[in-house]
């Protein structure tokens, strides 16, 4: 029911750090975040980790576990072998504050750069009418818990600090798609998506979709359709190629 497991946790700050080995007790049914908490209660009271709901709903406890971006609260220990070394490191794309906690302010900056919902003129509160089928597309994107795993994974910025200024990342490109597909949003967002938020950097490798804990089809349902909408205004070779080789929206597989 219980066993000892070898954990290797990154400890340090913005200047320096190292992987520290901990043998730690694991009980049946536990998740990686439980083990981090056990370390805090025993030999590493000052081990920094960001977490909140512990139910996969708030998106706070994003870390990299054996190199894979994951929510620590949703990663069950039973998915590993008992003799496996579990390495827990902070998100690689954002600057470290301490231990497993990173500075995610990049995301808040990008969020602020996307123009907000533009309410339709002349429609009073209480008078909004929308069909379920029309709101469902945007609703899928609003399932996003802002864990930033997609932002962390996207290779456009993962090892390319220089792209951060001009690229909003999958989460905020998806936000633009969400607003663009909102039945009553009054703004035109296509040009800005390409010109200001870096939609053209995305070459639809679907890494964002793979790490999404909410299973949102970011690439197929948000980014590719947004590229298609933009293409009316501006030529994007990837969309042209995508259509050519059959990975456009209609034929996209999940």
């Amino acid at each position: 029911m219980s066993h000892d497991q070898h954990f290797r946790v990154w400890r340090g700050d913005s200047d320096k750090g190292e992987l520290v080995d901990y043998p730690v007790l694991v009980n049946e049914g536990e998740v990686v975040l439980d083990i981090i908490h056990r370390l805090q209660q025993t030999e590493a009271q000052d081990l920094a980790v960001r977490w909140n709901c512990k139910a996969g709903k708030c998106g706070s406890c994003s870390v990299e576990i054996n190199g894979k971006p994951r929510l620590a609260c949703m990663t069950r220990m039973s998915t590993f072998d008992e003799d496996e070394v579990i390495t827990v490191t902070p998100l690689r794309t954002f600057p470290v504050i301490r231990d497993l906690v990173t500075d995610v302010s990049f995301n808040y900056t990008k969020a602020r750069e996307v123009p907000s919902f533009a309410p339709p003129e002349g429609v009073a509160p209480g008078e909004y009418r929308m069909a379920q089928v029309d709101v469902e597309r945007s609703q899928e994107f609003r399932k996003c818990i802002e864990c930033y795993l997609c932002q962390n994974t996207c290779h456009v910025v993962r090892d390319h600090e220089e792209n951060k200024e001009n690229f909003a990342g999958p989460r905020y490109l998806m936000r633009i798609a969400e607003l663009d597909m909102h039945p009553l949003d009054a703004a035109d967002r296509k040009e800005a998506a390409q010109e200001e938020h870096g939609l053209g950097y995305c070459n639809i490798t679907k890494c964002c979709t793979e790490v999404c804990p909410e299973h949102i089809k970011i690439t197929d349902n948000a980014l590719i359709p947004l590229k298609e909408r933009v293409v009316d205004r501006k030529y994007d070779p990837l969309v042209w190629l995508g259509n050519k080789i059959g990975i456009g929206r209609k034929s996209a597989k999940s």
């Binding site: 400890r11 340090g12 700050d13 009980n27 049946e28 049914g29 536990e30 998740v31 439980d34 805090q40 209660q41 009271q45 000052d46 081990l47 920094a48 980790v49 960001r50 977490w51 909140n52 709901c53 512990k54 139910a55 996969g56 709903k57 708030c58 998106g59 706070s60 949703m74 069950r76 039973s78 504050i97 301490r98 231990d99 906690v101 995610v104 808040y108 969020a111 602020r112 123009p115 907000s116 919902f117 309410p119 509160p125 209480g126 909004y128 009418r129 929308m130 069909a131 379920q132 709101v135 945007s138 609703q139 609003r142 399932k143 996003c144 818990i145 802002e146 607003l179 909102h182 949003d185």
Partner: protein
């Protein structure tokens, strides 16, 4: 990487010298639904606002809400209106509610929901394109606006995005996104400052750097949520340490109704990692049944006399209700939350529980696998991913979990101001609205209605001050620094690990002031809390101030302890059972207790004083919304002398 603290006094002095300072009109503590709505309102009224939040912006506990937001829009059933909602709310709270809050809430909730659509919210729709509304326990008509089972996430994201939208407006006007609203996230407030009896500001630290920051502001809105983290088994997150409750007490405000805690009947019990996480009421609404270790549907043994008429007495009748609600009575699994929670508790105590100390919630034998996945997708995934249980094949193990505190800061219903001038409270941290028991769905609407009112109340208060803003006393700042650094100085004296003290506090409250209460156990709890108070004062923290969870907890513990004292003391005092307060030794509801509020105030660092206070009688025209026969179940004879029926002026039942 650890900088040893050489001398606490030197450290405190150095820290005081480098304290960042900000000036605002209104400081909102908490960034959940109530806090964000308060900030939006104060900013719309022209105030400069700071939002302070322990977690990241957008992660507040509001995201956990599943079911929906109650508002009598009448989109699904046109018979619904504020009066029906008002009656349901008062019944749910067993008439102990602050009736004025319940009135404002019922009247204003629809406008608050519609407003969210203008911020960009996307609720599920009816066939004619309006906001869809769903049924929930205690609500007469389908009333809950919802987005699948993630309504809280939609609400927090919508309000977050509205704040951003206002910042974008400010950027266009001033060139600075943060000229009128600034979010200080991962920042914890440890003290409120008062000067000449009025709020002057507050003191906080940045969780990431450990650096101190002071806010000079004449108005503070508490929107800090609840207290559930003082219990071992809870659906609440780490943030719910009763900070606002404790800050209010220490500033001289009062708390009411602290004996009333809602234990949700169905939380997960296994594995330990997820103990307490909510299993939505919809499982039972869709046909799920509760069984004990003998396979028996035990709820049939727990139908109280007052509900005998409305609930099925055989499994056959109960099962027929799902398809023919008009000609059958509902199954007892759908009794009010407090009844079901008590029944589960009794079964476990009688030795008929499941292997991990709960009971079985079985949907697998009731619906097809396809139906379960369609109707309860998030429950399916929750059990699959966290417990490795396939709920389409096996029963779930569930048990009661501490979910919500009805008690909170005593406030003026219209302005949300506490007894302390300049101190406001809204949402779960405010008391009165829900009486002794909250209806599902009434929390999200509460956040919006009273969040807005507190923001408006704070703005009006600031306007009325003109130019006489209270100045923060420097000595109070020095004191706050010393208090915050205390856990480091205890290190030299060999104090305890705060995580250990927290576990003991949680166990004490869980075991001795839990779902079923007895005088001797609560007396024992009060003694234990006194001992824990001493240990809390001397907990030891290792290391540095940058993102140090041990230090953070040491400071939160102080609040948890004070709030736990309030709960235990009020629970011991109230000698009846009502809503979220069940006394084994006083099992019956008593009309002489209905009009009595238990009011708590702080006596020094870790003691509280309790006094009894009479409720303000309900306005006659609101009293007239109820039939006399119903009121007689709750009120003493002399209290309802003014009712229309009693005066021979019966105007007939209102709509």
């Amino acid at each position: 990487m650890t900088d040893p603290i050489e001398s606490p006094a030197v450290e405190a002095e150095a820290a005081a010298a480098e304290i960042e300072r900000h000036d605002y009109d209104v400081v909102v503590i908490g960034a959940g639904g109530a806090g964000l709505r308060a900030a939006i309102e104060a900013r719309l009224l022209g105030k400069r606002v700071a939002i302070i939040s322990k977690s990241l912006f957008g992660k507040a506990h509001t995201v956990m809400a599943e079911g929906g937001c109650a508002a009598s829009m009448g989109n699904v059933n046109p018979n619904d209106n504020w009066m029906v909602h008002y009656r349901d709310t008062m019944r749910g709270g067993k008439f102990l509610n602050n009736w004025r809050m319940a009135e404002l809430h019922a009247k204003e909730a629809p406008d608050r929901v519609w407003e969210l659509e203008t911020y960009g919210a996307l609720f599920d729709r009816t066939k004619d394109g309006k906001i869809s509304q769903r049924n929930f326990g205690g609500h007469t008509y389908p009333r809950l606006a919802h987005v699948g089972d993630r309504t809280g996430l939609e609400m927090i994201r919508t309000l977050q995005q509205k704040v951003v939208s206002l910042q974008q407006d400010d950027f266009k006007a001033t060139g600075d996104y943060e000229s009128h609203i600034r979010v200080f996230h991962e920042t914890t407030v440890t003290e409120l400052f008062k000067t000449d009896g009025r709020i002057a500001g507050c003191f906080a630290y940045y969780r990431s750097t450990g650096k101190f920051v002071r806010f000079d502001a004449p108005a503070v809105v508490l929107a800090t949520g609840g207290v559930g983290k003082s219990y071992q088994v809870t659906s609440n997150s780490w943030e719910y340490t009763g900070d606002g409750h404790a800050l209010a007490l220490r500033a001289g405000a009062t708390l009411i109704n602290m004996e009333f805690l809602q234990f949700h009947p169905t939380g997960m019990v296994w594995p330990p990692s997820v103990k307490g996480i909510l299993v939505t009421e919809s499982v039972r609404g869709d046909g799920g049944v509760l069984r004990n270790s003998e396979g028996k549907r035990f709820m049939f043994d727990y139908i109280p006399d007052v509900f005998k008429e409305q609930y099925a007495t055989t499994e056959e009748e109960g099962d027929r209700w799902y398809t023919d609600a008009d000609n059958n009575r509902r199954p007892p699994e759908l009794l009010p939350r407090d009844e079901v929670a008590r029944a589960i508790n009794s079964e476990v105590k009688a030795g008929r529980g499941s292997p991990h100390g709960g009971v079985f919630l079985d949907i697998a034998s009731r619906l097809s696998a396809e139906e379960i996945q369609k109707r309860l997708p998030s429950m399916y995934h929750q059990f699959k991913e966290l417990a490795d249980v396939d709920i389409t094949k096996e029963p779930m193990e569930v048990g009661p979990t501490c979910h919500y505190v009805m008690g909170g800061v005593e406030v003026d219903p219209d302005t949300a101001m506490s007894l302390v001038p300049g101190l406001f409270a809204a949402g779960e941290v405010a008391g009165g609205m829900h009486g002794s028991n909250r209806l599902g769905g009434n929390s999200l609407s509460d956040l919006l209605v009273f969040g807005r009112r507190s923001g408006a109340g704070a703005a009006a208060y600031v306007d009325a001050l003109v130019d006489v803003r209270p100045a923060v006393a420097e000595a109070d700042v020095d004191e706050a620094v010393k208090r915050a650094l205390l856990p480091f100085s205890s290190a030299t004296e060999g104090g305890e690990n705060p995580f250990v003290v927290q576990l003991e506090l949680q166990k004490t409250m869980n075991d001795l002031v839990g779902i079923i209460r007895k005088a001797d156990e609560m007396e024992q709890a009060l003694k234990a809390l006194q001992d824990l108070a001493v240990r809390t004062r001397t907990v030891t923290v290792e290391g540095h101030r940058e993102f140090n969870p041990g230090w953070h907890l040491a400071l939160d513990l102080r609040n948890m302890l004070l709030v736990s004292l309030c709960v235990a003391k009020a629970a011991l005092e109230r000698q009846e059972s009502r809503g979220g307060h069940t006394r084994d030794d006083f099992p019956v509801m008593d009309a002489d207790w209905r009009h009595v509020l238990l009011v708590l105030s702080a006596l020094g660092e870790d003691n509280v004083e309790l006094v009894r206070q009479e409720q303000v009688p309900m306005r006659p025209e609101l009293l007239d919304l109820f039939e006399l026969d119903e009121l007689k179940k709750y009120y003493t004879g002399e209290e309802i002398g003014g009712h229309r029926a009693d005066q021979g002026l019966d105007k007939g039942a209102k709509a």
